[in-house]
């Protein structure tokens, strides 16, 4: 299954990864190599085989009681913020919807 530079660009966009042109050429080559390698899986007969999402088949997700506990103090929440505005995280103006969501 050949992977084209367009494929890589499209996927980079899905992954929100800005690639600079130098990155891109090397990356495309490496992606092609790996995809070619993993393509050997197509030869395996998996008819009727259930996918294995977890090593534990048939387990059920643990649940917790609906009790509220205080979270982090607001200063700790914002401690690693690249750009803080009062008690908020600041980002470039989001204008598309022009409105609170």
């Amino acid at each position: 299954m050949p992977v084209t530079p367009d494929d890589v660009r499209r996927v980079a966009q899905l992954a929100s990864l800005e690639l600079d042109p130098d990155d891109e050429t090397r990356l495309v080559q490496k992606v092609q190599q790996v995809v070619e390698y993993v393509d050997r899986l197509q030869a395996v007969d998996t008819a009727g085989i259930e996918p294995l999402a977890h090593p534990y088949a048939g387990s059920s997700t643990p649940m917790r009681p609906d009790t509220a506990r205080e979270g982090l103090p607001v200063d700790e929440v914002l401690a690693n913020a690249p750009d803080r505005f009062g008690p908020f995280f600041r980002v470039p103006r989001m204008i598309e919807e022009g409105q609170d969501d």
């Binding site: 534990y56 997700t61 917790r64 009681p65 509220a68 607001v74 929440v77 505005f85 919807e97």
Partner: protein
């Protein structure tokens, strides 16, 4: 295209409107869906956040049991089939309010599917099918009016449990859409699953609208409308968008499948400026959570704990108790009021009379006080006694209203008030006949007028008897006796 179409012109439209609604409701749990942060409304920004709902590196989700119960409860109340084993999937996309770069949601095994909700006249309802009901986590909230030239994000809302309820495109008018939403909201209130208030954001609606020529069964191009803030916006947006689409098609144009934004101020839908990106969410099962079995016996327990639901109640009120659709809707729409009404029935009151009292006298008092039914000081049994006194003819309706007022004000028992104020109606036929004969004798002209065909003369004569008895005669009886006398002597 600038003139909005007004409601009520449906019959004249050459096209059929086809609507599907995608509704999100916030659950009423104490804590968030995957962490223990509080869900209280209106807290200081970023004060209800922990490493998990902030999406810090290394954190993991743990499911809130009550959120799952609420989801099953809602799905059952919407007549859904319940998945034997549900699961959570990741919906991957980037946005500043989405802390993990993916939302934990449900893709192919939602909690509930293939349900329905009935709208319209209970005697002849229309069934709107519900495709799915699933659980997911909410995102943070971005605000655009806090920091100059920038936006800011508050993550208090991140991780609040949401139910997403998707209908099939079975809705055929803007009004029906509003009906569906009202009914849906009532189900949420009755089951205690959500407060479902659009103005508080605990009920959010996205509309999918398309049109087609009348009689066609092919679906047209769909537009998704976002940013609807009230039921009224929903109605107006659907009508606007349907008309817009029809005009494009009629002029020979083609429609794009797109998302449009409802502009509340200008009352139009607007295409979003940014390039419509392909939404490849790359759903896959969330590996941080295990499967969610929904065992049949547990589901049945939840089903058994459901109260009488709005649909069933509406049907019972209209079809069994013979209330008007309008009265039934008002009662069903206010569970507290309906509860009081039910208590009146349990205390022996007749249904139509009870409904009338609740929706006029009681509701008027509540509105004047700005109070809820819990503040109403007259216990149902006591009011039922008052209704019985009217029903038996012991007091007139007018007198009853006075008694009601005093009962509310002083907490007195109706019988005591009636006796103390001498409001007992005269219903003794012999005594009344005596007075009727006296009045007839004293008013020969009105008698002649009545016999000559002037019905309103009767009213005058009734008034005279009431005057003689100082308003205490049973007016219905007086009416009957007068007619009897006037016809027999003719």
């Amino acid at each position: 295209m600038s003139t909005p179409v007004t409601a009520g012109t449906a019959v004249e439209r050459p096209y059929e409107i086809v609507v599907g609604l995608e509704v999100h409701v916030e659950l009423t749990t104490e804590s968030k869906i995957f962490c223990s942060c509080p869900t209280r409304f209106g807290a200081e920004p970023n004060s209800q956040v922990c490493p998990v709902c902030l999406g810090l590196p290394g954190t993991l989700p743990v499911l809130n049991r009550r959120a799952l119960e609420q989801a099953v409860r809602a799905a059952l109340a919407l007549n859904c089939r319940i998945q034997p084993v549900a699961k959570f999937d990741r919906k991957n996309y980037h946005y500043p309010d989405l802390v993990k770069g993916y939302q934990i949601s449900q893709y192919d095994l939602p909690v509930g599917y293939e349900g329905w909700l009935e709208v319209g006249d209970p005697a002849n309802p229309r069934r709107i099918r519900i495709r799915r009901v699933h659980l997911e986590e909410d995102t943070g909230k971005s605000l655009h009016d806090q920091a100059p030239g920038a936006s800011v994000v508050d993550y208090n809302r991140s991780g609040i449990p949401l139910l997403e309820i998707v209908s099939e495109p079975d809705i055929r008018s803007a009004e029906e859409a509003r009906d569906y939403l009202m009914h849906l909201r009532q189900v949420m209130l009755y089951t205690g699953v959500s407060d479902a208030r659009m103005e508080e954001g605990s009920l959010r609606v996205d509309c999918n609208v398309s049109v087609r020529p009348r009689g066609s069964d092919v679906f047209g191009t769909i537009t998704e409308i976002k940013n609807l803030n009230s039921f009224r916006s929903v109605v107006r947006a659907i009508e606007y968008e349907a008309q817009r689409q029809w005009e494009v098609l009629s002029a020979g144009g083609t429609l794009r499948r797109e998302t449009r934004h409802w502009d509340e101020r200008r009352e139009v839908t607007v295409a979003l400026r940014r390039k419509e990106e392909a939404h490849d969410y790359r759903y896959f099962p969330d590996p941080d959570l295990l499967p969610v079995p929904l065992p049949a016996d547990w589901v049945e327990e939840i089903r058994a704990s459901l109260p009488e639901l709005p649909g069933a109640r509406r049907r019972r009120y209209v079809l069994d108790l013979d209330l008007s659709v309008r009265d039934a809707d008002t009662l069903v729409g206010d569970p507290g009021l309906a509860g009081y009404f039910e208590d009146l029935l349990a205390a022996g009151a007749e249904a139509r009379a009870a409904a009338s009292w609740v929706l006029t006298q009681v509701l008027a008092w509540l509105n004047a006080q700005g109070a809820g039914i819990d503040a109403f000081p007259v216990p149902p049994a006591r009011l039922a006694r008052l209704l019985r006194l009217v029903d038996e003819g012991t007091i007139s309706m007018t007198a009853a209203k006075d008694v009601f007022e005093e009962m509310v004000r002083t907490g007195a028992e109706p019988d005591a008030v009636v006796e103390a104020r001498g409001l007992r109606q005269i219903s003794d036929q012999a005594a009344l006949l005596e007075i009727v004969d006296r009045v007839l004798a004293a008013n020969p002209q009105p008698v002649a007028d009545y016999r000559a065909g002037r019905q309103q003369a009767l009213g005058f004569l009734v008034g005279q008897v009431m005057k003689e008895t100082r308003g205490r005669a049973n007016p219905q009886l007086v009416n009957d006796l007068l007619r009897q006398r006037l016809s027999s002597d003719g």
